[in-house]
C-alpha cells in the first residue's frame, strides 16, 4: 500500500469532485424513463392509496418509473411556486389550488398539454375543458396548460340528527336561498337552549384563508344574481349594477349572519380544514364545503354517514330559479424546464383513459367527481341512490347547471382570490365597522387594479 502524500490527497479530492460532476448527467441519463411527480395528499387515506395504485398500474403498463411525492396541499403550493421560480421543477405536478395554474400559465411557466387532452377531449365536460384552457401572456393565446382529472361542486352538509334534536324535520328545510339559510337560525336557538352552548347555525367560512371563503362568497353572489361578475372574455363587471348589488347583498348577508352569532366567531380565522372539523364536532348544524371531503372523513361511522348527515344540493334562488353550481376542476400540469416531458405526458395520457381515471377516482371513494359525464352515466356507482351523498354531489357537478371557477376566464381573478379581496371586505364590515357598500367599493377598486395588470387579447 502506497503512502499518503499531499499530492495523492489533492489528486484524490480532485478525482472525487470530477466524478461527482460527471456522474450527475450520467444519473439523469440513466433515469431517462423516470419522471418526478408531485401529487396532493388526499383528505382520506383511500385517495392516496388510489394514487399509489394508479402509479403502480402505469409503471407496470409502461415500464417507466415514477418518482412521486404526496404532499398536503398548502406545502405543495409553496413547493410548486418555489420550483417554477427557481427552475428546478418536477416533471408532473398536480394543482395544489385553483389559482396556481392560471397564474403560472399567464407567466408562460407551463407546457401546452393539448396533445394529452386531445386523446380524451370528446369525453370531458365542457366545464372541464374550459377550466384548463388558460391564457399565456407571452403567446397571447389560450391552450390546455393543464389536464383535467377531478371535478367538484359545493353542496351543503347538514346534520339531520341535530335538526331533529332541535324539534324540526329535515323535510321542513325550505328550498329558496334566504329561507334555506334562515331555517338554521331557530335550530341553533333550540340547540343552545338544550345546552349545546357552542353550536351554531352554519359553518360558513368568513376568513381570508384558502378556498372555502371564496366558495362561500361566490355562492352568495350567484344566489343574488351576480354570477356575471367575471365573464368568459376575462372581464370584471364591477360597473354592472346587477353585479354590484349582488356583491353588496352577499357581503351584507354574510356579515349580518356572522354578527348575529349564527357562524362560529373563530370562522374569521379558519382555513380550509377548519370548517370540516367544526362540522364533525357539531359546532355547526350546516356547512358549505366543496367536494365530499366532509362526509368521507366519517365514512367509517355508519350512523353518521348513512343516517345523520345530509348532502344537500343548492336551493333555488329567492325568485325560484335553479342556481348553477360553481364547479372546480383540478388536474395536472407540466412545468417548463421539466426534464422528462415525454414520460410525464405518457403518464397523464395513461391516467386520463376513462376506465383508468374512473378506477382512480372511485378508489378515492368519490371525493372528487370524474370530469367525464358519459363515464359517470355508464358506471352506476356514481349515481347509486344507496349513497345519497355521492349521488347528490355527482348530480351537482356533472348533470345540473354549472359555471366554472372564474380563474378559467382570467388569471386576474386568480390574484383577486389569492389576495381574498372580497373576503377582506367582510372583515372591513365586521371588524372595521365599514358600511357594506363602501366595503364593496373598496374591494372592486382593488379588483379593478388587479384586472388592469392582466389584459387579455380577445380572439
Amino acid at each position: 500500500m502506497g503512502s499518503v502524500t499531499r499530492r495523492s490527497v489533492l489528486r484524490g479530492s480532485l478525482g472525487l469532485v470530477a466524478a461527482g460532476a460527471l456522474g450527475c448527467p450520467y444519473i439523469a441519463n440513466a433515469a431517462a424513463t423516470t419522471a418526478t411527480v408531485w401529487w396532493t395528499q388526499g383528505f382520506v387515506p383511500d385517495e392516496d392509496a388510489a394514487f399509489r395504485k394508479l402509479v403502480a398500474d402505469y409503471e407496470k403498463a409502461s415500464g417507466n418509473k415514477l418518482d412521486y411525492s404526496i404532499v398536503p396541499f398548502a406545502p405543495l403550493r409553496q413547493k410548486e411556486v418555489s420550483a417554477v421560480t427557481s427552475g428546478v421543477v418536477p416533471d408532473v405536478m398536480e394543482d395544489a389550488d385553483l389559482e396556481f395554474a392560471a397564474l403560472t400559465a399567464w407567466q408562460d411557466q407551463l407546457l401546452d398539454l393539448s396533445d394529452v387532452v386531445e386523446t380524451q377531449k370528446s369525453r370531458y365536460s365542457e366545464i372541464a375543458l374550459l377550466s384548463r384552457q388558460l391564457y399565456d401572456n407571452r403567446t397571447k393565446e389560450r391552450h390546455f396548460y393543464g389536464v383535467p382529472m377531478k371535478t367538484f361542486a359545493t353542496p351543503f352538509h347538514i346534520w339531520g340528527d341535530l335538526i331533529e334534536k332541535a324539534g324540526f324535520k329535515t323535510s321542513d328545510i325550505p328550498n329558496t336561498w334566504d329561507k334555506f339559510i334562515d331555517f338554521f337560525v331557530p335550530v341553533q336557538k333550540e340547540l343552545q337552549a338544550k345546552g349545546m352552548r357552542h353550536t351554531y347555525a352554519s359553518g360558513f367560512v368568513v376568513s381570508t384563508i384558502g378556498v372555502d371563503p371564496i366558495n362561500t362568497f361566490n355562492a352568495f353572489v350567484t344566489a343574488y344574481g351576480g354570477d356575471g361578475i367575471v365573464t368568459r372574455d376575462g372581464k370584471l363587471h364591477s360597473e354592472d349594477p346587477k353585479v354590484r348589488e349582488a356583491v353588496i347583498q352577499a357581503l351584507t348577508r354574510l356579515a349580518k349572519f356572522f354578527k348575529d352569532g349564527h357562524i362560529p366567531p373563530g370562522s374569521v380565522n379558519w382555513n380550509d380544514a377548519d370548517d370540516n372539523n367544526a362540522f364533525h364536532s357539531k359546532l355547526c348544524v350546516m356547512d358549505f364545503d366543496g367536494s365530499l371531503s366532509t362526509e368521507l372523513a366519517m365514512i367509517n361511522d355508519k350512523q353518521a354517514y348513512d343516517h345523520d348527515m345530509l348532502t344537500h344540493p343548492l336551493p333555488m334562488s329567492n325568485d325560484g330559479k335553479q342556481l348553477p353550481a360553481q364547479t372546480g376542476v383540478f388536474g395536472a400540469v407540466i412545468p417548463k424546464g421539466a426534464k422528462n416531458v415525454e414520460v410525464g405526458k405518457d403518464f397523464l395520457k395513461f391516467a386520463i383513459q376513462p376506465q383508468v381515471l374512473n378506477e382512480y377516482l372511485k378508489g378515492g371513494l368519490g371525493r372528487w367527481a370524474i370530469p367525464m359525464p358519459s363515464v359517470a352515466k355508464e358506471d352506476p356507482w356514481w349515481l347509486d341512490p344507496k349513497d345519497p351523498h355521492r349521488m347528490t354531489h355527482t348530480q351537482m357537478a356533472l348533470f345540473g347547471p354549472t359555471i366554472p371557477w372564474y380563474e378559467a376566464y382570467s388569471p386576474a381573478i386568480a390574484q383577486v382570490n389569492a389576495e381574498h379581496v372580497f373576503q377582506v371586505a367582510w372583515g372591513d364590515i365586521v371588524n372595521g365597522g365599514m358600511a357594506p357598500d363602501k366595503a364593496a367599493d373598496k374591494a372592486f377598486k382593488r379588483a379593478e387594479a388587479i384586472f388592469a395588470k392582466y389584459p387579455i387579447r380577445q380572439s
Binding site: 499531499r6 490527497v9 489533492l10 479530492s13 403550493r77 409553496q78 411556486v81 418555489s82 417554477v84 421560480t85 389559482e99 396556481f100 397564474l103 403560472t104 357552542h198 376568513s207 381570508t208 384563508i209 362560529p264 366567531p265 373563530g266 374569521v268 380565522n269 382555513n271 359546532l283 390574484q415 389569492a418 389576495e419 381574498h420 373576503q423 377582506v424 367582510w426 372583515g427 372591513d428 365586521v430 371588524n431 373598496k442 382593488r446 387594479a449
Partner: protein, 303 residues
Amino acid sequence: MDASQVLDGNRSLARRARSRMFRGSLQGSEYTWALAFVIPYIAIFLIFVIYPVVYGLWLGSDPASYVELFDDPIYQTTIINTALYLAIGVNVKMFLALLLSGFFMRRGWWVKALLMIYVLPWAVPQLPVFISIHWMLNGDYGLLNNLLFELFGIEGPSWLDSHWLALGSVILAYIWKWMPFWTVILLAGRMAIPQEIHEAAKIDGATGIRSFVHVSFPLLANLYLVCTLLSTIFTVGDFNTATFVSGGGPAFSTFTLATLGIRDAFDLAQPRVGVAAVMTALPLVVPLVIILMRKLRTAEVQL
C-alpha cells in the same frame, strides 16, 4: 547594472511582496495544505451564504415589485403592526428580562428551581407552543375561555377574532416565548459584575434600587443595548409567532413584514413581491446592524 536588470529586480520584489501577502508566513507545502483545507469552507460560504443573499437581492431588485407592494392595501397595516410588534414586544420583553434577571440573582434552591421552570417556554420548540396558544385562545372551545366560564361564569372574548386582541395575543405570546432566553443572557451579565463593586457601593450607602440604578444598570447598559438591537433584528424576521398564533388574521390585520412576504411569495405566487416586502425592512435593519457592530467594537471594558 543596466535599466532592464533594475526593472526585473523591481518586478521580482513586487511578485514576492504579493506572494507574501497571500501566503503570510506559510512556506512551501504548508501553503498548499492551507488552501486545501480552506477551500471547502469558502465553497460552503459561497453556496450557503453569498449565493442566497445575492439571489435574494436579485429577486428584490425589480422596482415594479415595490410598486406592486405599495399598492397592496394591507401593506400599511402590516408596517404599523411590525412597528408595534417590535416597539412593544422587544422593549417590554427586554425590560422584564432585566428585572427578572435581578430576581434570579437571589440565593436559594427554590430560585434555581424556579429558573429551570421559567426557561421551559424558551426550551420547548416554537411550533407546538404557538399552536397550543392558538387553541388555548379559541373563543369557542379554548382552554382560557372555558376556564373563565367554569370558574366565573364569564363568556370570554374571541381573543383572535378582532385586530387589537389578536395583535395583543401575538405580542404576549412572543414575550412569553423569548423572555426567558434574554433573562438568562442578562443574568449572566449580572453575574459577571464583580461582587466587590456592589460591596463598595453598599459601604457608600447604595442598596436596593439605588444599587441597581447607580451600579448594576450602568455596567449592564452596553449589554442591554446590544441584546435589544440583536433581538430587534431577530424579531423583524419572525414569521412563526404571527402565523401560528393568529394566522395573520382576522382579515390579514395582524400581518407583519415576514408573514406578508411569505404570503406574497407563495399564496400569490409572486416571489419577487414577497422578497420586496422583506426588503422594505432594510432601512431599519441596516442601521441597527451598523450600531450593533460599532457597539461590539467598543474598546473600553464594559459588560
